[in-house]
């Protein structure tokens, strides 16, 4: 049998597509807009209203502003606590306040948050006691809050591993008839990890109600975004899994809340996961232990000060008559009081109990752990006797 040139042309998908232009693009509705969604200019003046992302209610924006101001003050206080030796380390999220607060404000209390180590501000914005949030970084235990009671997973250090947990939890909740949404925070660097892909893929295949919220703050410690991906932007990673996605100006609080609100609605309505990439910037080093002069210029950091999310929202709310000097001052006072109370409480030396090391390895300790506990108990008793003799 011979193959004619015509037959070859007929078999070519390119030719078929040309012959039948009505074949729909299967990626339609999955790709993000080519530009990040933005509702406010950097100076806080509003952009034209848009149908796809209606502006959130003004009272929600006022509350967002309040939590962002308190959150930043918390963040500054936490960094100060590292200098006083009260925290072993602190990864700041300064500059990312719109994302930190927007990520939790878009959720109900019954929804679940899967945070990373950089989400301390988000957790305090969720109403979790800041001392409990900082337990991990003070080092008196690992997770200081009750994840089951707060519907908030422990802050996750192994990068992207929480993406799969969020898929499982969200699927399990819907399996049991509850309309819970899970929101997984993740950074730009962690999108290179396998568990990010497996998590998004599992969520998509099982139509799990998850919002994957990537804070693209441009650096994974020192490594810039260009070493993480060759994709047009991280939001484009959704289409490969059949997951709709959006990119948003992460320093525009109004846009962040609008986009996340819609993403959460999408998930809750049974349409499966949604991927949001927020373009933001980490204003501080990776942690207090990092030296950012080795990998970025001061001018680059300075340029982002003009895009400060708090100043942007404040200018907008003032222009809308929702904030005045007195209200701004009252919120600033509240933030100061929050930080002062935190400082005082963190100045108290936490008590740790060496024997508690054996309490939660298993539901019931193994015979070997019972033996080791007895050994440690005897060591501690001997230490106390020596101190008593001295």
């Amino acid at each position: 049998m011979t193959t004619t040139p015509q037959a070859v042309r007929r078999a070519s998908p390119r030719t078929r597509r040309k012959a039948n232009p009505s074949v729909p693009d299967p990626s339609a509705g999955l790709l993000p807009r080519t530009e990040p969604v933005r509702l406010l200019n950097p100076d806080g003046t509003p952009l034209p209203a848009r149908d796809d992302y209606p502006e959130p209610p003004l009272d929600a924006l006022r509350e967002m502003y309040r939590r962002m101001v308190v959150g930043r003050r918390f963040d500054v206080q936490a960094t100060a606590l590292t200098k006083q030796g009260r925290l072993a380390v602190y990864p700041s999220s300064r500059g990312q306040e719109a994302c930190q607060v927007g990520g939790v404000l878009a959720l109900r209390d019954t929804d679940w948050v899967f945070p990373t180590y950089r989400e301390s501000m988000a957790l305090t914005a969720r109403g979790i006691d800041p001392v409990e949030v900082l337990t991990l970084l003070r080092g008196d235990w690992h997770c200081g809050y009750d994840p089951a009671a707060r519907h908030t997973a422990p802050q996750c250090t192994p990068l992207a591993t929480q993406c799969v947990h969020a898929a499982g939890l969200a699927y399990g909740e819907s399996y049991q008839g509850r309309d819970t949404v899970a929101l997984a925070f993740i950074g730009d660097g962690a999108t290179s990890e396998g568990d990010f892909h497996e998590g998004v893929n599992f969520a998509a295949v099982f139509k799990a109600p998850v919002v994957y919220f990537v804070q693209n703050n441009k650096y994974a410690i020192s490594v810039p975004l260009s070493r993480q991906t060759a994709a047009p932007s991280l939001a484009y990673k959704g289409v490969g899994y059949g997951v709709p996605s959006e990119q948003v100006d992460g320093n525009d609080p109004v846009a962040v809340l609008a986009v996340l609100t819609r993403a959460v609605e999408h998930a809750r309505s049974g349409k499966g996961p949604f991927l949001v990439e927020a373009h933001t910037y980490r204003m501080e080093p990776h942690t207090n232990a990092d030296d950012q002069t080795r990998y970025r210029d001061a001018e680059e950091v300075e340029a982002w000060r003009d895009r400060d999310p708090i100043a942007r929202l404040e200018a907008y709310l003032r222009a809308r008559g929702e904030l005045d000097d007195a209200a701004v001052a009252a919120i600033a006072d509240e933030a100061e009081a929050y930080a002062a109370a935190l400082r005082d409480r963190m100045n108290a030396q936490p008590t740790v109990d060496p024997l508690s090391l054996f309490d939660h390895v298993y539901a019931e300790p193994t015979p070997q752990l019972v033996e080791q506990r007895e050994q440690v108990r005897a060591e501690l008793a001997a230490d106390r006797d020596e101190e008593g003799d001295a």
């Binding site: 192994p158 939890l169 396998g194 497996e198 539901a363």
Partner: protein, 334 residues
């Protein structure tokens, strides 16, 4: 009583657990319509529906991480790793989350997951299909590690694993899947943390688990011809480990050989030998010896018989237990 295979007993344990507790969900690769490559989940999807028994994307870290989330939501996931070596992509999820969540959260969260791992060799599998990976899990605090050697234990230990409040790595010896025995289900044998004396004897103790137990029993029978009456202890649950039963046996016999199929260096058998030596020093007439796989990557099928502990190798080792009270010449400096 009926004659059945270990595979059938495991299948029955899954089905009975799903029947008793609707929170139990079974998932993994090919476990749905196909019933698993070893047919351990055979018929579960047809019987319980594709919400209770389902296939997942082919991604082991995803499977275990998904199970973590499901457990957080209140379900009791039982996942299948298709083969021992295929579980390695899931190791981060297992070591960093499954094993630690209870501890990290002071008990506020627990993840009662069962991770079923068909393991070890003797089935002529090509590479990456026959690893003995139990030491990795046994070395990770927070995990229980269980491995049956009999048909009734396979049923009972799997039921207990699914009911257990802690995560359990359930290691299924592939070469025993189609071994059969008289069994009456639902069987409930000794609980977690109990080793069992499979054969009573007076002269030396063979300590074994999983695929090495039948080798130990066969060696004990063969040893009668040499005039040795050997006791065989089946460890059953590597974690939690039953020091009491093992110690009592060795104190009685005064000699001990630990048998495992895995490579020997830093293995579970090394831990057992150390524990026996610590606890039975004054009762021992000879050093505790080990028979293990060689310290090599798992060999190709046509060479695996050289690697695996054999009855002859066990008997040769028993012969070196200083019956004449003379030092082992292998360890004496020239």
């Amino acid at each position: 009583m009926a004659t059945m295979t270990m595979a059938k007993a495991l299948n029955a344990a899954l089905a009975d657990a799903m029947l008793d507790d609707e929170r139990v969900v079974v998932f993994g690769e090919d476990v749905g319509q196909l019933g698993g490559v070893f047919r351990i989940t055979d018929g579960l999807q047809a019987r319980f529906g594709d919400k209770r028994c389902f296939d997942t994307p082919l991604a082991e870290a995803g499977i275990v991480g998904f199970a973590v989330g499901l457990a957080m939501s209140g379900l009791r996931p039982v996942v299948e790793m298709q083969f021992d070596a295929f579980a390695y992509p899931a190791f981060e999820q297992i070591a960093s989350h499954v094993a630690k969540l209870r501890n990290r959260t002071r008990g506020a969260l627990s993840v009662p997951i069962v991770i079923r791992v068909p393991y070890a060799g003797g089935i002529g599998g090509v590479e990456h299909h026959c690893d003995s990976s139990e030491a990795y899990y046994a070395h990770t605090p927070g995990l229980k590690v269980v491995t049956p050697a009999t048909v009734e234990d396979a049923y009972s230990l799997l039921r207990e694993a699914i009911d257990d409040p802690d995560p359990v790595v359930f290691m299924e010896p592939k070469k025993l899947y189609f071994s059969s025995a008289e069994a009456e289900l639902p069987a409930r044998t000794a609980p977690f943390g109990k080793a069992v004396v499979r054969r009573a004897g007076t002269d030396a103790t063979l300590v074994a688990y999983g695929p090495a137990v039948p080798v130990a029993l066969e060696a004990a029978e063969a040893a009668r011809e040499e005039g040795w009456d050997l006791e065989v202890v089946d460890v059953r649950t590597i974690v939690p480990f039953d020091d009491a039963t093992v110690t009592a046996s060795v104190r009685k016999t005064g000699r001990c050989v630990v048998i495992q199929e895995a490579q020997g260096f830093a293995g579970v058998g090394a831990e057992i030998a150390a524990r026996v030596q610590e606890r039975c020093f004054h009762a021992l007439h000879a050093p505790v010896l080990r028979v293990s796989g060689l310290d090599i990557p798992y060999p190709a099928p046509m060479l695996e018989h050289t690697h695996l502990p054999s009855v002859d190798r066990v008997l040769d080792t028993v012969a070196r237990l200083q019956w004449d009270d003379q030092p082992d010449t292998r360890w004496v400096a020239a």
